[in-house]
Symmetry: C2
Subunit: 302 residues, 2 copies
Protein backbone atom coordinates (compact mmCIF):
# COMPACT_ATOMS: atom_id res chain seq x y z
CA UNK A 1 0.00 0.00 0.00
CA UNK A 2 1.22 3.46 -0.83
CA UNK A 3 -0.55 6.75 -0.35
CA UNK A 4 0.67 10.28 -0.99
CA UNK A 5 -1.36 13.40 -1.51
CA UNK A 6 0.37 16.54 -2.84
CA UNK A 7 -1.38 19.89 -2.60
CA UNK A 8 -0.71 21.70 -5.89
CA UNK A 9 -3.05 24.63 -5.30
CA UNK A 10 -4.84 25.59 -2.10
CA UNK A 11 -6.51 28.89 -2.98
CA UNK A 12 -10.03 29.83 -4.05
CA UNK A 13 -11.36 31.55 -7.18
CA UNK A 14 -8.63 34.18 -7.63
CA UNK A 15 -5.02 32.93 -7.37
CA UNK A 16 -2.60 34.83 -5.14
CA UNK A 17 1.20 34.86 -5.05
CA UNK A 18 1.16 32.18 -2.31
CA UNK A 19 -1.81 30.06 -3.31
CA UNK A 20 -2.50 28.65 -6.73
CA UNK A 21 -6.04 27.67 -7.57
CA UNK A 22 -7.31 24.19 -6.76
CA UNK A 23 -5.46 21.05 -7.70
CA UNK A 24 -4.28 17.99 -5.79
CA UNK A 25 -2.14 15.08 -6.94
CA UNK A 26 -2.86 11.68 -5.47
CA UNK A 27 -0.74 8.57 -5.66
CA UNK A 28 -2.95 5.81 -4.26
CA UNK A 29 -1.46 2.35 -4.62
CA UNK A 30 0.44 3.53 -7.72
CA UNK A 31 -2.74 4.84 -9.32
CA UNK A 32 -1.78 8.38 -10.29
CA UNK A 33 -4.65 10.80 -10.09
CA UNK A 34 -5.08 14.55 -10.49
CA UNK A 35 -8.06 15.97 -8.60
CA UNK A 36 -9.09 19.29 -10.11
CA UNK A 37 -6.86 21.25 -12.43
CA UNK A 38 -7.09 25.02 -11.99
CA UNK A 39 -5.12 27.43 -14.16
CA UNK A 40 -1.39 26.90 -13.76
CA UNK A 41 -1.62 23.28 -12.59
CA UNK A 42 0.96 22.13 -15.17
CA UNK A 43 3.40 24.67 -13.72
CA UNK A 44 2.63 23.48 -10.17
CA UNK A 45 3.22 19.86 -11.23
CA UNK A 46 6.65 20.88 -12.51
CA UNK A 47 7.39 22.95 -9.43
CA UNK A 48 6.59 20.07 -7.09
CA UNK A 49 8.30 17.50 -9.31
CA UNK A 50 5.32 15.38 -10.25
CA UNK A 51 5.77 13.68 -13.62
CA UNK A 52 2.59 14.59 -15.44
CA UNK A 53 3.02 11.98 -18.16
CA UNK A 54 2.36 9.27 -15.57
CA UNK A 55 -1.09 10.62 -14.68
CA UNK A 56 -3.82 8.09 -15.41
CA UNK A 57 -6.87 9.90 -14.09
CA UNK A 58 -8.00 13.47 -14.12
CA UNK A 59 -11.03 14.04 -11.91
CA UNK A 60 -12.76 17.39 -12.09
CA UNK A 61 -15.11 18.33 -9.25
CA UNK A 62 -17.00 21.02 -11.15
CA UNK A 63 -16.74 23.43 -14.03
CA UNK A 64 -15.86 26.64 -12.26
CA UNK A 65 -12.71 28.08 -13.78
CA UNK A 66 -10.52 27.77 -10.69
CA UNK A 67 -11.08 24.00 -10.75
CA UNK A 68 -10.59 23.14 -14.44
CA UNK A 69 -9.05 25.88 -16.58
CA UNK A 70 -5.60 24.27 -16.41
CA UNK A 71 -6.81 21.19 -18.24
CA UNK A 72 -6.37 22.51 -21.79
CA UNK A 73 -2.74 23.48 -21.30
CA UNK A 74 -1.95 20.27 -19.44
CA UNK A 75 -3.50 18.07 -22.15
CA UNK A 76 -1.62 20.01 -24.84
CA UNK A 77 1.69 19.79 -22.98
CA UNK A 78 1.22 16.05 -22.50
CA UNK A 79 0.81 15.81 -26.25
CA UNK A 80 3.80 18.01 -27.09
CA UNK A 81 6.04 16.00 -24.79
CA UNK A 82 5.14 12.68 -26.35
CA UNK A 83 2.28 11.10 -24.42
CA UNK A 84 0.73 8.04 -26.05
CA UNK A 85 -0.98 6.33 -23.11
CA UNK A 86 -4.70 6.73 -22.44
CA UNK A 87 -5.97 9.33 -19.97
CA UNK A 88 -9.32 9.00 -18.22
CA UNK A 89 -11.13 12.24 -17.41
CA UNK A 90 -14.09 12.19 -15.01
CA UNK A 91 -16.27 15.30 -14.69
CA UNK A 92 -19.80 16.66 -14.60
CA UNK A 93 -21.35 17.30 -18.05
CA UNK A 94 -19.84 19.92 -20.36
CA UNK A 95 -16.10 19.37 -20.16
CA UNK A 96 -15.80 17.17 -23.25
CA UNK A 97 -17.44 19.89 -25.36
CA UNK A 98 -15.09 22.55 -23.94
CA UNK A 99 -12.00 20.43 -24.61
CA UNK A 100 -13.13 19.55 -28.11
CA UNK A 101 -13.95 23.15 -29.11
CA UNK A 102 -10.64 24.31 -27.69
CA UNK A 103 -8.61 21.77 -29.65
CA UNK A 104 -10.67 22.21 -32.81
CA UNK A 105 -10.00 25.97 -32.69
CA UNK A 106 -6.29 25.48 -31.99
CA UNK A 107 -6.04 22.64 -34.52
CA UNK A 108 -4.55 20.37 -31.87
CA UNK A 109 -4.72 16.66 -32.62
CA UNK A 110 -3.85 14.50 -29.62
CA UNK A 111 -1.62 11.46 -30.11
CA UNK A 112 -3.19 9.77 -27.08
CA UNK A 113 -6.69 8.66 -26.23
CA UNK A 114 -8.91 10.45 -23.75
CA UNK A 115 -11.76 8.52 -22.19
CA UNK A 116 -14.37 10.95 -20.88
CA UNK A 117 -16.58 9.70 -18.07
CA UNK A 118 -19.45 12.06 -17.37
CA UNK A 119 -21.11 11.91 -13.94
CA UNK A 120 -24.66 13.05 -13.29
CA UNK A 121 -25.55 10.86 -10.33
CA UNK A 122 -27.76 12.07 -7.49
CA UNK A 123 -26.12 9.71 -5.00
CA UNK A 124 -22.78 8.01 -4.36
CA UNK A 125 -21.76 6.11 -7.48
CA UNK A 126 -18.80 3.92 -8.43
CA UNK A 127 -16.92 5.50 -11.35
CA UNK A 128 -13.82 3.29 -11.48
CA UNK A 129 -12.61 0.03 -10.01
CA UNK A 130 -9.56 -2.16 -10.42
CA UNK A 131 -7.86 -4.69 -8.18
CA UNK A 132 -6.46 -2.15 -5.74
CA UNK A 133 -8.75 0.88 -5.87
CA UNK A 134 -12.37 1.97 -6.14
CA UNK A 135 -13.26 5.57 -6.99
CA UNK A 136 -16.72 6.83 -6.09
CA UNK A 137 -18.31 10.17 -6.96
CA UNK A 138 -21.07 11.81 -4.94
CA UNK A 139 -22.93 15.10 -5.42
CA UNK A 140 -22.02 18.22 -3.46
CA UNK A 141 -24.26 21.30 -3.14
CA UNK A 142 -22.91 24.19 -5.21
CA UNK A 143 -23.94 26.70 -7.88
CA UNK A 144 -23.14 24.28 -10.72
CA UNK A 145 -23.15 20.44 -10.66
CA UNK A 146 -20.29 19.49 -8.34
CA UNK A 147 -18.93 16.14 -7.19
CA UNK A 148 -16.85 14.90 -4.32
CA UNK A 149 -14.66 11.83 -4.79
CA UNK A 150 -13.97 8.94 -2.46
CA UNK A 151 -10.87 6.79 -3.04
CA UNK A 152 -11.28 3.45 -1.33
CA UNK A 153 -8.77 0.66 -1.22
CA UNK A 154 -10.18 -2.71 -2.24
CA UNK A 155 -10.92 -5.00 0.70
CA UNK A 156 -7.73 -6.64 1.81
CA UNK A 157 -7.42 -10.40 2.27
CA UNK A 158 -7.45 -11.67 5.84
CA UNK A 159 -4.17 -12.02 7.68
CA UNK A 160 -2.86 -15.45 8.58
CA UNK A 161 -2.93 -16.18 12.34
CA UNK A 162 0.58 -17.54 12.74
CA UNK A 163 -0.04 -19.15 16.12
CA UNK A 164 -3.06 -21.11 14.90
CA UNK A 165 -1.23 -22.19 11.74
CA UNK A 166 1.44 -23.61 13.97
CA UNK A 167 -1.10 -25.25 16.27
CA UNK A 168 -2.90 -26.97 13.41
CA UNK A 169 0.41 -27.53 11.53
CA UNK A 170 -1.16 -26.31 8.28
CA UNK A 171 0.67 -26.71 4.96
CA UNK A 172 0.99 -23.90 2.42
CA UNK A 173 -1.73 -25.50 0.31
CA UNK A 174 -4.05 -25.66 3.32
CA UNK A 175 -3.40 -21.99 4.15
CA UNK A 176 -4.31 -21.04 0.57
CA UNK A 177 -7.49 -23.09 0.97
CA UNK A 178 -8.41 -21.06 4.06
CA UNK A 179 -7.60 -17.78 2.30
CA UNK A 180 -10.01 -18.83 -0.49
CA UNK A 181 -12.68 -19.23 2.24
CA UNK A 182 -12.75 -23.02 2.14
CA UNK A 183 -12.91 -25.36 5.13
CA UNK A 184 -9.87 -27.57 5.71
CA UNK A 185 -10.14 -31.26 6.56
CA UNK A 186 -7.17 -32.21 8.71
CA UNK A 187 -6.78 -35.49 10.62
CA UNK A 188 -10.57 -35.97 10.56
CA UNK A 189 -11.19 -32.46 11.94
CA UNK A 190 -12.96 -29.64 10.01
CA UNK A 191 -11.13 -26.34 10.42
CA UNK A 192 -13.04 -23.24 9.23
CA UNK A 193 -11.10 -20.26 7.77
CA UNK A 194 -11.97 -17.94 10.66
CA UNK A 195 -10.24 -20.35 13.08
CA UNK A 196 -6.87 -19.73 11.40
CA UNK A 197 -7.24 -16.25 9.90
CA UNK A 198 -7.35 -12.80 11.47
CA UNK A 199 -9.72 -10.08 10.19
CA UNK A 200 -8.16 -8.01 7.36
CA UNK A 201 -6.80 -4.53 7.98
CA UNK A 202 -9.36 -1.78 7.28
CA UNK A 203 -9.02 -0.65 3.67
CA UNK A 204 -7.62 2.84 3.26
CA UNK A 205 -10.01 5.65 2.39
CA UNK A 206 -9.34 9.21 1.22
CA UNK A 207 -12.21 11.57 0.52
CA UNK A 208 -12.08 14.84 -1.42
CA UNK A 209 -15.00 17.22 -0.85
CA UNK A 210 -14.83 20.17 -3.23
CA UNK A 211 -16.90 23.36 -3.24
CA UNK A 212 -20.18 23.01 -1.38
CA UNK A 213 -22.56 24.38 1.15
CA UNK A 214 -22.71 22.27 4.31
CA UNK A 215 -24.37 19.03 3.18
CA UNK A 216 -25.55 16.55 5.81
CA UNK A 217 -25.91 13.68 3.31
CA UNK A 218 -22.14 13.56 2.93
CA UNK A 219 -21.81 12.04 6.39
CA UNK A 220 -23.22 8.70 5.21
CA UNK A 221 -21.23 8.59 1.95
CA UNK A 222 -17.83 9.46 3.35
CA UNK A 223 -17.86 7.70 6.74
CA UNK A 224 -14.63 6.59 8.43
CA UNK A 225 -12.16 8.25 6.06
CA UNK A 226 -8.52 7.99 7.06
CA UNK A 227 -8.03 11.37 5.46
CA UNK A 228 -10.75 13.83 4.51
CA UNK A 229 -10.23 17.00 2.50
CA UNK A 230 -13.11 19.46 2.73
CA UNK A 231 -13.20 23.00 1.39
CA UNK A 232 -13.40 25.81 3.95
CA UNK A 233 -13.57 29.05 1.97
CA UNK A 234 -14.84 31.24 4.80
CA UNK A 235 -15.06 31.80 8.54
CA UNK A 236 -18.42 31.59 10.33
CA UNK A 237 -18.51 35.38 10.56
CA UNK A 238 -18.69 35.46 6.73
CA UNK A 239 -21.59 32.95 6.80
CA UNK A 240 -23.80 35.20 4.63
CA UNK A 241 -21.13 35.36 1.96
CA UNK A 242 -20.62 31.58 2.26
CA UNK A 243 -24.34 30.99 1.70
CA UNK A 244 -24.55 33.45 -1.20
CA UNK A 245 -21.63 31.79 -2.99
CA UNK A 246 -22.59 28.28 -1.79
CA UNK A 247 -19.37 27.58 0.07
CA UNK A 248 -18.51 26.08 3.45
CA UNK A 249 -17.01 27.64 6.54
CA UNK A 250 -14.18 26.09 8.54
CA UNK A 251 -16.81 25.08 11.12
CA UNK A 252 -18.92 23.39 8.42
CA UNK A 253 -15.94 21.33 7.26
CA UNK A 254 -15.13 20.36 10.85
CA UNK A 255 -18.74 19.27 11.50
CA UNK A 256 -18.63 16.99 8.45
CA UNK A 257 -15.34 15.49 9.66
CA UNK A 258 -16.70 14.97 13.16
CA UNK A 259 -20.02 13.44 12.11
CA UNK A 260 -18.46 11.19 9.46
CA UNK A 261 -15.79 10.01 11.95
CA UNK A 262 -12.82 11.02 9.84
CA UNK A 263 -9.40 10.35 11.32
CA UNK A 264 -7.85 13.54 10.00
CA UNK A 265 -9.21 16.62 8.23
CA UNK A 266 -7.49 18.84 5.67
CA UNK A 267 -9.09 22.18 4.88
CA UNK A 268 -8.30 24.48 1.95
CA UNK A 269 -9.77 26.67 -0.81
CA UNK A 270 -9.38 29.69 1.45
CA UNK A 271 -10.73 33.02 0.30
CA UNK A 272 -7.95 35.45 -0.65
CA UNK A 273 -9.33 37.81 2.05
CA UNK A 274 -7.56 35.77 4.77
CA UNK A 275 -3.94 36.80 5.04
CA UNK A 276 -3.18 33.79 7.24
CA UNK A 277 -5.05 30.67 8.31
CA UNK A 278 -4.90 31.06 12.11
CA UNK A 279 -8.59 31.82 12.60
CA UNK A 280 -9.71 29.19 10.10
CA UNK A 281 -7.69 26.57 11.95
CA UNK A 282 -8.96 27.73 15.34
CA UNK A 283 -12.59 27.67 14.21
CA UNK A 284 -12.27 24.13 12.84
CA UNK A 285 -10.28 22.81 15.81
CA UNK A 286 -13.01 23.80 18.25
CA UNK A 287 -15.20 21.16 16.59
CA UNK A 288 -12.67 18.65 15.22
CA UNK A 289 -9.16 18.73 16.73
CA UNK A 290 -7.14 16.79 14.12
CA UNK A 291 -7.24 19.37 11.34
CA UNK A 292 -4.62 20.99 9.10
CA UNK A 293 -4.86 24.05 6.82
CA UNK A 294 -3.18 23.00 3.59
CA UNK A 295 -0.52 24.99 1.75
CA UNK A 296 0.74 24.66 -1.83
CA UNK A 297 3.40 21.98 -1.91
CA UNK A 298 2.24 20.13 1.22
CA UNK A 299 2.52 16.35 1.11
CA UNK A 300 0.37 14.02 3.20
CA UNK A 301 1.21 10.37 3.65
CA UNK A 302 -0.79 7.58 5.26
Amino acid sequence: MSFKLTILGSGAAVPTLNRSVTSQYLNFNERRILIDCGEGTQMQLRKFRVKFQRLQFLLISHLHGDHYLGIFGLLASMNLTGRTSKLTIVSPPGLKELVELQFKTSKVYLAYEIEFITIESKTKELVFEDKVLKIFAFPMKHRVPTYGYSFEEQSKRPNVDKEMIKEYALTTLEIQQALRGENIEKDGEIISPNQVLLPPAKPLKFVHCSDSLYKEALVEWISDADLLYHEATFLEKEKDRAKATMHSTAADAAKIAQKSKAKKLLIGHFSARYKNTDKLLEEAQEIFPNVVCVEDGDEYLI
Copy 2:
Protein backbone atom coordinates in the same frame (compact mmCIF):
# COMPACT_ATOMS: atom_id res chain seq x y z
CA MET B 1 5.01 60.24 -24.22
CA SER B 2 5.43 57.17 -22.09
CA PHE B 3 6.37 53.69 -23.19
CA LYS B 4 7.01 50.60 -21.12
CA LEU B 5 6.92 46.99 -22.22
CA THR B 6 6.92 44.25 -19.56
CA ILE B 7 7.67 40.67 -20.55
CA LEU B 8 5.24 38.47 -18.59
CA GLY B 9 6.08 35.21 -20.34
CA SER B 10 8.94 34.48 -22.72
CA GLY B 11 8.64 30.74 -23.34
CA ALA B 12 7.10 28.65 -26.11
CA ALA B 13 4.35 26.03 -26.09
CA VAL B 14 5.26 24.21 -22.87
CA PRO B 15 5.96 26.44 -19.83
CA THR B 16 9.11 25.80 -17.81
CA LEU B 17 10.04 26.83 -14.28
CA ASN B 18 11.87 29.89 -15.66
CA ARG B 19 9.71 30.86 -18.60
CA SER B 20 5.95 31.29 -18.56
CA VAL B 21 4.11 31.05 -21.85
CA THR B 22 3.64 34.13 -23.98
CA SER B 23 2.31 37.40 -22.67
CA GLN B 24 3.52 40.99 -22.75
CA TYR B 25 2.13 44.06 -21.04
CA LEU B 26 2.43 47.37 -22.86
CA ASN B 27 1.84 50.83 -21.47
CA PHE B 28 1.93 53.10 -24.52
CA ASN B 29 0.99 56.71 -23.74
CA GLU B 30 -1.17 55.46 -20.84
CA ARG B 31 -3.05 53.02 -23.07
CA ARG B 32 -2.75 49.75 -21.14
CA ILE B 33 -2.55 46.74 -23.38
CA LEU B 34 -2.00 43.02 -22.89
CA ILE B 35 -0.50 41.27 -25.91
CA ASP B 36 -1.24 37.55 -25.75
CA CYS B 37 -2.38 35.83 -22.58
CA GLY B 38 -0.98 32.32 -22.11
CA GLU B 39 -1.92 30.14 -19.15
CA GLY B 40 -0.86 31.76 -15.88
CA THR B 41 -0.81 35.33 -17.20
CA GLN B 42 -2.96 36.58 -14.30
CA MET B 43 -0.35 35.18 -11.89
CA GLN B 44 2.47 36.82 -13.87
CA LEU B 45 0.62 40.16 -13.79
CA ARG B 46 0.47 39.89 -10.00
CA LYS B 47 4.07 38.79 -9.75
CA PHE B 48 5.30 41.76 -11.78
CA ARG B 49 2.90 44.18 -10.09
CA VAL B 50 0.76 45.15 -13.06
CA LYS B 51 -2.76 46.17 -12.02
CA PHE B 52 -4.91 44.06 -14.29
CA GLN B 53 -8.08 46.05 -13.67
CA ARG B 54 -6.53 48.95 -15.59
CA LEU B 55 -6.09 46.93 -18.78
CA GLN B 56 -8.08 48.39 -21.66
CA PHE B 57 -7.03 46.13 -24.50
CA LEU B 58 -6.32 42.46 -24.81
CA LEU B 59 -4.77 41.56 -28.14
CA ILE B 60 -4.43 37.90 -29.01
CA SER B 61 -2.04 36.97 -31.81
CA HIS B 62 -3.52 33.53 -32.46
CA LEU B 63 -5.49 30.73 -30.90
CA HIS B 64 -2.75 28.32 -29.90
CA GLY B 65 -3.07 27.54 -26.21
CA ASP B 66 0.22 29.06 -25.11
CA HIS B 67 -0.99 32.43 -26.42
CA TYR B 68 -4.56 32.63 -25.10
CA LEU B 69 -5.48 30.01 -22.46
CA GLY B 70 -4.99 32.50 -19.63
CA ILE B 71 -7.81 34.67 -20.89
CA PHE B 72 -10.68 32.82 -19.18
CA GLY B 73 -9.15 33.01 -15.72
CA LEU B 74 -8.11 36.64 -16.20
CA LEU B 75 -11.58 37.70 -17.33
CA ALA B 76 -13.16 35.82 -14.39
CA SER B 77 -10.72 37.33 -11.88
CA MET B 78 -11.41 40.82 -13.25
CA ASN B 79 -15.08 40.14 -12.61
CA LEU B 80 -14.60 38.73 -9.11
CA THR B 81 -12.49 41.71 -8.09
CA GLY B 82 -15.06 44.27 -9.19
CA ARG B 83 -14.34 45.35 -12.74
CA THR B 84 -17.05 47.44 -14.38
CA SER B 85 -15.15 49.20 -17.18
CA LYS B 86 -15.23 47.94 -20.75
CA LEU B 87 -12.49 45.69 -22.11
CA THR B 88 -11.69 45.44 -25.81
CA ILE B 89 -10.45 42.08 -27.05
CA VAL B 90 -8.88 41.80 -30.51
CA SER B 91 -8.21 38.37 -31.99
CA PRO B 92 -8.55 36.11 -35.02
CA PRO B 93 -11.95 34.36 -35.36
CA GLY B 94 -13.04 31.84 -32.72
CA LEU B 95 -12.17 33.44 -29.40
CA LYS B 96 -15.60 34.93 -28.70
CA GLU B 97 -17.20 31.49 -29.06
CA LEU B 98 -14.64 29.92 -26.70
CA VAL B 99 -15.14 32.63 -24.08
CA GLU B 100 -18.92 32.41 -24.33
CA LEU B 101 -19.04 28.59 -24.04
CA GLN B 102 -16.66 28.71 -21.09
CA PHE B 103 -18.72 31.25 -19.17
CA LYS B 104 -22.02 29.60 -20.11
CA THR B 105 -20.74 26.27 -18.73
CA SER B 106 -19.39 27.90 -15.55
CA LYS B 107 -22.49 30.11 -15.21
CA VAL B 108 -20.29 33.20 -15.04
CA TYR B 109 -22.06 36.49 -15.78
CA LEU B 110 -19.64 39.37 -16.27
CA ALA B 111 -20.44 42.74 -14.70
CA TYR B 112 -18.42 44.53 -17.38
CA GLU B 113 -18.70 44.81 -21.13
CA ILE B 114 -16.37 43.02 -23.53
CA GLU B 115 -16.07 44.39 -27.06
CA PHE B 116 -14.77 41.66 -29.35
CA ILE B 117 -12.97 42.82 -32.48
CA THR B 118 -12.32 39.95 -34.89
CA ILE B 119 -9.53 40.34 -37.43
CA GLU B 120 -9.41 38.44 -40.69
CA SER B 121 -7.43 40.88 -42.84
CA LYS B 122 -4.94 39.71 -45.47
CA THR B 123 -2.87 42.88 -45.14
CA LYS B 124 -2.00 45.55 -42.55
CA GLU B 125 -5.20 46.95 -41.11
CA LEU B 126 -6.04 49.64 -38.55
CA VAL B 127 -7.92 48.07 -35.62
CA PHE B 128 -7.96 50.97 -33.15
CA GLU B 129 -7.18 54.67 -33.13
CA ASP B 130 -7.48 57.49 -30.64
CA LYS B 131 -5.70 60.80 -30.24
CA VAL B 132 -2.41 59.31 -29.08
CA LEU B 133 -2.22 55.81 -30.54
CA LYS B 134 -2.98 53.72 -33.60
CA ILE B 135 -2.99 49.91 -33.42
CA PHE B 136 -2.59 47.95 -36.65
CA ALA B 137 -2.85 44.20 -37.17
CA PHE B 138 -1.12 42.33 -39.97
CA PRO B 139 -1.10 38.61 -40.90
CA MET B 140 1.80 36.35 -39.94
CA LYS B 141 2.47 32.91 -41.49
CA HIS B 142 1.60 30.15 -39.02
CA ARG B 143 -0.45 26.96 -38.68
CA VAL B 144 -3.58 28.86 -37.63
CA PRO B 145 -4.58 32.47 -38.48
CA THR B 146 -2.03 34.63 -36.65
CA TYR B 147 -1.57 38.39 -36.43
CA GLY B 148 1.24 40.72 -35.57
CA TYR B 149 0.45 44.10 -34.04
CA SER B 150 2.00 47.50 -34.68
CA PHE B 151 1.57 50.24 -32.08
CA GLU B 152 2.15 53.63 -33.64
CA GLU B 153 2.07 56.99 -31.95
CA GLN B 154 -0.11 59.55 -33.70
CA SER B 155 1.87 62.08 -35.74
CA LYS B 156 3.24 64.79 -33.51
CA ARG B 157 2.83 68.48 -34.26
CA PRO B 158 5.86 70.32 -35.66
CA ASN B 159 8.31 71.97 -33.29
CA VAL B 160 8.66 75.72 -33.20
CA ASP B 161 12.01 77.02 -34.53
CA LYS B 162 12.89 79.42 -31.71
CA GLU B 163 15.54 81.30 -33.68
CA MET B 164 13.22 82.01 -36.58
CA ILE B 165 10.39 83.06 -34.23
CA LYS B 166 12.80 85.58 -32.75
CA GLU B 167 14.01 86.75 -36.16
CA TYR B 168 10.45 87.36 -37.40
CA ALA B 169 9.33 88.54 -33.92
CA LEU B 170 6.18 86.41 -34.15
CA THR B 171 3.39 86.78 -31.59
CA THR B 172 1.73 83.80 -29.86
CA LEU B 173 -1.27 84.16 -32.16
CA GLU B 174 0.98 84.13 -35.23
CA ILE B 175 2.80 81.00 -33.99
CA GLN B 176 -0.56 79.26 -33.56
CA GLN B 177 -1.43 80.29 -37.11
CA ALA B 178 1.75 78.62 -38.35
CA LEU B 179 1.05 75.48 -36.31
CA ARG B 180 -2.36 75.28 -38.00
CA GLY B 181 -0.50 75.35 -41.32
CA GLU B 182 -1.54 78.87 -42.29
CA ASN B 183 0.69 81.52 -43.88
CA ILE B 184 1.42 84.60 -41.80
CA GLU B 185 1.31 88.16 -43.16
CA LYS B 186 3.79 90.28 -41.28
CA ASP B 187 4.93 93.75 -42.29
CA GLY B 188 3.87 93.05 -45.86
CA GLU B 189 5.85 89.82 -45.99
CA ILE B 190 4.28 86.33 -46.39
CA ILE B 191 5.88 83.82 -44.00
CA SER B 192 5.06 80.17 -44.67
CA PRO B 193 4.83 77.67 -41.75
CA ASN B 194 7.90 75.71 -42.86
CA GLN B 195 9.99 78.90 -42.50
CA VAL B 196 9.35 79.04 -38.75
CA LEU B 197 8.68 75.41 -37.82
CA LEU B 198 10.95 72.38 -37.52
CA PRO B 199 9.83 68.91 -38.65
CA PRO B 200 8.02 66.99 -35.89
CA ALA B 201 9.78 64.24 -33.96
CA LYS B 202 9.26 60.81 -35.49
CA PRO B 203 6.24 59.12 -33.87
CA LEU B 204 7.12 56.17 -31.69
CA LYS B 205 6.54 52.68 -33.07
CA PHE B 206 6.56 49.29 -31.34
CA VAL B 207 5.90 46.13 -33.33
CA HIS B 208 4.99 42.69 -31.95
CA CYS B 209 5.54 39.77 -34.34
CA SER B 210 4.15 36.56 -32.90
CA ASP B 211 4.56 32.99 -34.13
CA SER B 212 5.47 32.80 -37.80
CA LEU B 213 7.69 31.38 -40.45
CA TYR B 214 10.02 33.99 -41.96
CA LYS B 215 7.72 36.32 -43.88
CA GLU B 216 9.24 38.89 -46.25
CA ALA B 217 6.02 40.95 -46.48
CA LEU B 218 6.47 42.03 -42.87
CA VAL B 219 9.37 44.27 -43.87
CA GLU B 220 7.05 46.76 -45.56
CA TRP B 221 4.41 46.73 -42.79
CA ILE B 222 6.70 47.16 -39.81
CA SER B 223 9.40 49.47 -41.18
CA ASP B 224 11.40 51.78 -38.90
CA ALA B 225 10.19 50.41 -35.57
CA ASP B 226 11.87 51.88 -32.52
CA LEU B 227 11.41 48.50 -30.88
CA LEU B 228 10.59 45.24 -32.62
CA TYR B 229 9.67 42.00 -30.88
CA HIS B 230 9.93 38.94 -33.14
CA GLU B 231 9.62 35.31 -32.08
CA ALA B 232 12.74 33.15 -32.39
CA THR B 233 11.73 29.66 -31.31
CA PHE B 234 14.70 27.85 -32.84
CA LEU B 235 18.30 28.05 -33.97
CA GLU B 236 19.16 27.68 -37.67
CA LYS B 237 20.39 24.16 -37.00
CA GLU B 238 16.79 23.22 -36.08
CA LYS B 239 15.53 24.80 -39.33
CA ASP B 240 13.63 21.63 -40.31
CA ARG B 241 11.75 21.66 -37.01
CA ALA B 242 11.12 25.40 -37.43
CA LYS B 243 9.61 24.81 -40.86
CA ALA B 244 7.53 21.85 -39.73
CA THR B 245 6.05 23.83 -36.83
CA MET B 246 6.00 27.12 -38.82
CA HIS B 247 8.25 29.05 -36.49
CA SER B 248 11.22 31.38 -36.97
CA THR B 249 14.86 30.99 -36.11
CA ALA B 250 16.93 33.64 -34.37
CA ALA B 251 18.49 34.40 -37.78
CA ASP B 252 15.02 34.83 -39.34
CA ALA B 253 14.05 37.34 -36.65
CA ALA B 254 17.31 39.23 -37.13
CA LYS B 255 16.82 39.39 -40.92
CA ILE B 256 13.37 40.90 -40.44
CA ALA B 257 14.83 43.48 -38.02
CA GLN B 258 17.65 44.33 -40.41
CA LYS B 259 15.51 44.62 -43.54
CA SER B 260 12.76 46.61 -41.79
CA LYS B 261 15.38 48.96 -40.27
CA ALA B 262 14.32 48.42 -36.67
CA LYS B 263 16.31 50.30 -34.04
CA LYS B 264 16.29 47.46 -31.53
CA LEU B 265 15.16 43.84 -31.66
CA LEU B 266 13.76 41.70 -28.85
CA ILE B 267 13.57 37.95 -29.41
CA GLY B 268 11.64 35.41 -27.35
CA HIS B 269 9.32 32.36 -27.47
CA PHE B 270 12.35 30.13 -27.12
CA SER B 271 11.89 26.38 -27.35
CA ALA B 272 12.28 24.67 -23.95
CA ARG B 273 15.16 22.64 -25.50
CA TYR B 274 17.53 25.60 -25.06
CA LYS B 275 18.85 25.72 -21.52
CA ASN B 276 20.27 29.19 -22.09
CA THR B 277 20.01 31.82 -24.80
CA ASP B 278 23.70 32.30 -25.66
CA LYS B 279 23.53 30.67 -29.08
CA LEU B 280 20.23 32.29 -29.98
CA LEU B 281 21.70 35.70 -29.18
CA GLU B 282 24.90 34.96 -31.07
CA GLU B 283 23.03 33.78 -34.17
CA ALA B 284 20.84 36.89 -34.23
CA GLN B 285 23.72 39.31 -33.50
CA GLU B 286 25.67 38.14 -36.53
CA ILE B 287 22.91 39.66 -38.66
CA PHE B 288 21.51 42.42 -36.44
CA PRO B 289 23.71 43.61 -33.58
CA ASN B 290 21.20 45.46 -31.35
CA VAL B 291 19.27 42.44 -30.12
CA VAL B 292 18.19 41.18 -26.69
CA CYS B 293 16.85 37.78 -25.60
CA VAL B 294 13.91 38.55 -23.34
CA GLU B 295 13.33 37.02 -19.91
CA ASP B 296 10.17 36.94 -17.78
CA GLY B 297 9.95 40.19 -15.84
CA ASP B 298 12.13 42.25 -18.20
CA GLU B 299 11.04 45.83 -18.72
CA TYR B 300 11.89 47.87 -21.81
CA LEU B 301 11.50 51.62 -21.94
CA ILE B 302 11.80 54.02 -24.84
